[in-house]
């Protein structure tokens, strides 16, 4: 990790990071919400299960943790982004549901019940 010494450095770092994230666009990205409350509802187990199962089933994907998605009523929540598609958030993801997500959505692009529609605007969408 090199130092960021000037504002210019910061911009270069940012652009490089954004550039890099564009290229593995053909990789499946999975984010698991992992705030204290998510973990208490089992998101750690869900994340471990997903990581293990993807490996067993030979599916290449980037799995990362993230903070609270805000859908506390439907914990654990997992967001899956398939290459070239909009991110989809799934709620109540236990091992059984995670298996279904891998088999049906990730492998077949088939949507399954329990999708949580995004109900907020991000700051870039506001006028």
């Amino acid at each position: 990790m090199g130092k960021i010494k000037t504002l210019n450095d910061l911009h270069k770092t940012r652009d490089k990071l954004n550039d890099k994230s564009k290229h593995p666009g053909d990789l499946i990205q999975i984010k698991v919400a992992m705030a204290t409350c998510c973990i208490a509802s089992g998101s750690k187990e869900t994340m471990n299960y997903i990581v293990d199962e993807l490996e067993k089933r030979n599916i290449e994907a980037i799995v990362t943790q993230t903070g609270c998605m805000g859908y506390c009523y439907a914990e654990p929540t997992v967001e899956v982004t398939l290459p070239g598609k909009e991110p989809v958030v799934f709620g109540y993801v236990d091992a059984k549901k995670a298996d279904e997500i891998i088999e049906r959505y990730i492998k077949n692009g088939e949507l399954i019940e329990g999708i949580i529609p995004v109900n907020y605007q991000n700051i870039d969408e506001t006028k």
């Binding site: 903070g67 506390c72 700051i123």
Partner: protein, 597 residues
């Protein structure tokens, strides 16, 4: 591999389910089969869209068509027209209330998205333990701009222009707070982040620290530059281990990048952050108490003035800001104060994060523009009350706040309106209550909390709150008198006027606001010895209905205190003097003969 071309998303939120969204899904499936489109289109039930007002809702992807108020009999039309022929069903499209135009692509209808995420912009999106992901989303850009192109005065002016007010409860203008600390000359100054979140049911600050700790680090550095401080402290509850861990990671990573430390971004400015752990005392959320606790003294408040901006941590000028307030700052710098002040109401700008909890369908963390109504929050974003019960009240501001009722449902939420309604914004806990909640009991719950958390320094809070609690306890036990209501009001007002700090000055609010809004409930407890919501145990009376009792003796055998008497095959009776209201008899009775009165 069956690759569906069209997905029909049917809302399965509680509100839409109640208006037959299940049947809609069934009908859609049937129509799809009828048309032989099984491999082409798929129907999926989803969670709540947060648009219950216009439910049931059906969204079709990939073209993002949004159909509202769909009826089961519309299924055939949707499948025939939209799925088969690719023509949108005009009459089911949502009409924009302002332009009166039909909106066909939901991407263009953000109006249904009631939430705007500023403070939560990265929560649930980035990996909080990787500073790179923060930087990739314009992280530290604001700090860079400020350090290289703005003077402290200009930066403070930007924050003043934005209208940002403290999100911890008081609502003091943030820019002004920084200006006061800036103007006080000193060899040493401090920037403090107040992460001592303590309201029951509130988890906004924890979520921000756990989801986007870098935003707080960046904002503290900006504040430090504004006032001329080189040292920052985060006062955080030791009960938040994950937040602490992630914050530490963020600080470490920022140091490695040189975004904390000496000569940040070649500006000559130096700043670093340390953590201080709180033991969870509620009063330490008050800034003077917080500062004393950080100094290693008892966490007790002191009189203001002097304000921390004059004499704070170690007697030096200090600025104390709440986590959520800080999280807003980088966005204000990046997008400009004008952008920020366009959101919200006249005197309350921007958004507010609320932890929506209680008897509500979509318990969650939400961020809404100031000025949104309670109705929109509860019945749209929140998806309405659980189990179709009746809405009774919402408690905002925690132990310092009050209850808002049905008559406040259409009041725009902002600092001043909430105070006018007898509550307060507080830090953002929102506890929703339904018809099964007893308001006297709720007031008692919060008073119990304040009595526990009062530091004991001043008499009004230490003694007064205890007396308030005792009066409430007396009423819930059925021993209250009408004079007790007056006593509660008088004493409550005296405490508000005379207590030393914010804790005592606001602690009677739950009592005063429940009396103002639910006096009849207090009176029912006093005059009729009855708890209308059926919560206060002492006022419940178990009775046996003679017609239903067959004399099986099951209840008498179940009663742990021998309060039930009666011969076999004869009607039994409960002795109210002995009954401890455990409910064992009611559970055991197979003939519904035991009832609560």
């Amino acid at each position: 591999m069956s690759e569906y071309k069209i997905h029909l998303l049917v809302c399965g939120g509680a509100g839409c389910k109640a208006s037959e969204s299940n049947t809609i899904a069934e009908n859609l499936n049937r129509e799809i089969s009828k048309q032989g489109l099984d491999d082409y289109a798929q129907v999926v039930m989803t969670g709540c869209f947060g648009f219950c007002e216009k439910g049931p809702v059906v969204k079709i992807i990939p073209d993002n068509t949004f159909y509202v108020q769909v009826k089961p009999e519309d299924a055939a039309t949707i499948v025939e027209e939209h799925v088969l022929k690719g023509r949108k069903v005009e009459r089911l499209l949502f009409t924009d209330p302002e332009t009166h135009k039909k909106i066909s692509d939901s991407k263009g209808m953000n109006i249904y998205k009631k939430q705007v995420r500023i403070a939560l912009r990265n929560c649930g999106i980035i990996n909080p333990e990787n500073i790179d992901e923060y930087i990739a989303r314009d992280g530290y850009e604001a700090l860079g701009t400020v350090l290289t192109t703005k003077t402290p005065e200009e930066t403070i002016q930007m924050l003043k222009d934005s209208g940002l007010r403290g999100r911890g409860g008081g609502g003091f203008p943030t820019g002004l707070k920084l200006e006061l600390a800036f103007k006080n000359e000193s060899d040493e100054k401090y920037v403090v982040c107040n992460a001592d979140e303590g309201d029951p049911g509130a988890f906004m600050d924890r979520s921000i620290l756990e989801g986007d700790p870098n935003s707080v680090v960046e904002a503290m550095t900006i504040c430090a530059y504004c006032i001329g401080a080189n040292k920052g402290l985060v006062y955080i509850r030791a009960e938040y281990p994950l937040a602490i861990e992630r914050l530490k990671t963020a600080i470490d990573q920022a140091r490695k990048y040189g975004l904390l430390g000496n000569n940040i971004l070649n500006s000559g400015f130096k700043f670093d952050i340390d953590l201080r752990y709180g033991a969870g005392a509620f009063v330490c959320g008050e800034e003077t108490a917080l500062i004393h606790s950080m100094e290693g003294n008892r966490g007790e408040p002191t009189l203001k003035p002097p304000f921390p901006a004059q004499s704070g941590y170690l007697g030096k000028p200090t600025t104390v800001n709440n986590v959520e307030t800080l999280a807003n700052i980088p966005v204000i710098i990046n997008k400009g104060p004008q952008w920020f002040s366009n959101i919200g109401t006249e005197k309350s700008k921007g958004t507010k994060v609320f932890a929506l909890t209680g008897k509500i369908n979509n318990v969650g963390l939400i961020e809404v523009p100031m000025g949104i109504t309670l109705r929109e929050v509860i019945f749209e974003i929140g998806g309405g009350i659980k189990n179709n019960k009746k809405f009774k009240a919402v408690q905002t501001g925690g132990p310092s706040g009050g209850c808002l009722t049905e008559k406040h449902l259409d009041t725009p939420i902002d600092y001043d309106n909430l105070i006018a309604a007898g509550s307060m914004m507080g830090s953002g806990g929102m506890v929703v209550m339904d018809e099964d909640d007893c308001m006297v009991d709720v007031a008692k719950f919060f008073l119990d909390f304040t009595v526990d958390e009062s530091c004991g320094k001043c008499a009004p809070c230490r003694i007064g709150n205890k007396r308030l609690y005792e009066l409430l306890d007396k009423i819930t036990k059925g021993n209250g008198t009408r004079q007790d209501i007056d006593r509660l009001i008088n004493l409550g007002n005296v405490i508000k006027d005379t207590a030393l700090c914010g804790l005592g000055q606001s602690s009677p609010n739950p009592v005063l606001s429940t009396i103002a809004n639910f006096r009849d409930e207090y009176i029912a407890h006093i005059d009729d010895k009855r708890c209308p919501a059926g919560v206060c145990k002492a006022l419940m009376k178990y009775e046996i209905i003679a017609e239903n009792c067959v004399g099986c003796t099951a209840c008498a055998r179940a009663c742990p205190v021998g309060a039930i008497t009666g011969e076999r095959k004869e009607v039994h009776t409960i002795n109210p003097e002995l009954c401890i209201k455990c409910g064992a008899c009611m559970e055991r009775c197979k003939f519904n003969a035991v009832v609560i009165n």
